[in-house]
């Protein structure tokens, strides 16, 4: 189309790079509103990823800035939570790779999936420890599917793994949690899905 009269009439800068899709003012206003409402869930996911309150809030801040910068790439009508979680996870992984965040954590916090929790309920305290004992990938999968209620497909896309991996991680996590919470032997598996 660069040779068309319409294209020729466009300013030079619009011809040099593909232009992002534009959201109308109303769409953008709604997206920002949704974004604001999702901040608590972003904080929850960030704490689960970092297991550190301060780093979690840094991660939320970085995620919000990136999300706003890339808002034009979000397709309205698709899953905004999954999109934001994907951004957050990518930032987190990049930070870990660049050793920006060294994993120097209080061993007591490592026991808890969400640091700083005040748990009066003994069952929840046990569950927190059990979650803390899960490998990172399994804990994250449990959080995305069981706590956040995301579809397996969305969880798979967020973690960049096949959907079968989500299923197997959940299955192993469930088995391990049952073992830790109810004393069930690890080999006792019947209805794994």
């Amino acid at each position: 189309m660069s040779g068309s009269p319409e294209a020729a009439a466009e300013p030079l800068e619009t011809l040099q790079a593909p232009q992002p899709r534009r959201h109308g003012e109303e769409t953008q206003r709604k997206l920002l509103q949704e974004l604001e409402q999702l901040i608590p869930r972003l904080r929850r996911y960030a704490r689960s990823l970092t297991r550190d309150e301060t780093r979690a809030d840094d991660l939320v801040q970085d995620t919000l800035i990136r999300a706003i910068d890339k808002l034009h790439l979000f397709e309205p009508g698709t899953n905004l939570v999954a999109w934001l979680f994907t951004i957050m996870r990518n930032i987190h992984i990049n930070a870990l790779r660049s050793a920006k965040w060294e994993r120097e954590q209080d061993p007591a916090d490592l026991e808890l999936p969400v640091p700083g929790l005040q748990l009066s309920n003994l069952a929840l305290r046990d569950l927190a420890r059990a979650m803390g004992a899960l490998p990172d990938d399994q804990r994250e999968t449990v959080l995305l599917v069981a706590v956040e209620g995301l579809a397996y497909q969305d969880a798979a896309e967020i973690m960049s793994v096949p959907i079968g991996t989500v299923r197997s991680r959940l299955s192993r996590a469930r088995s391990r949690l049952r073992q830790l919470m109810y004393g069930e032997a690890e080999g006792e598996r019947g209805d794994e899905g």
């Binding site: 920002l32 608590p40 904080r43 689960s48 706003i68 969400v114 929790l117």
Partner: protein, 68 residues
């Protein structure tokens, strides 16, 4: 008489629960309990006030004319 009827209601509910429990199997029930407890475990952070700096990031975007 009234008291005994009132006492029967929870018992009936309990019986229904046990029936449902038998139907779904103990492992399924454990999973349901785990999910319920996990949601409770992770819910306190949702009640915390949102830090102002997060809201400020969104506010700045709102005041800037849309480029997107």
């Amino acid at each position: 008489m009234k008291d005994s009827n009132e006492a029967k209601a929870p018992m009936a509910e309990q019986a229904e629960d046990k029936k449902a429990e038998r139907k779904m199997g103990p492992r399924r029930k454990q999973d349901d309990t785990l999910v319920r407890d996990l949601r409770e475990l992770y819910s306190p952070v949702l009640e915390e006030p949102v830090p102002q700096e997060f809201l400020e990031i969104l506010r700045r975007k709102r005041t800037v004319p849309s480029k997107t």
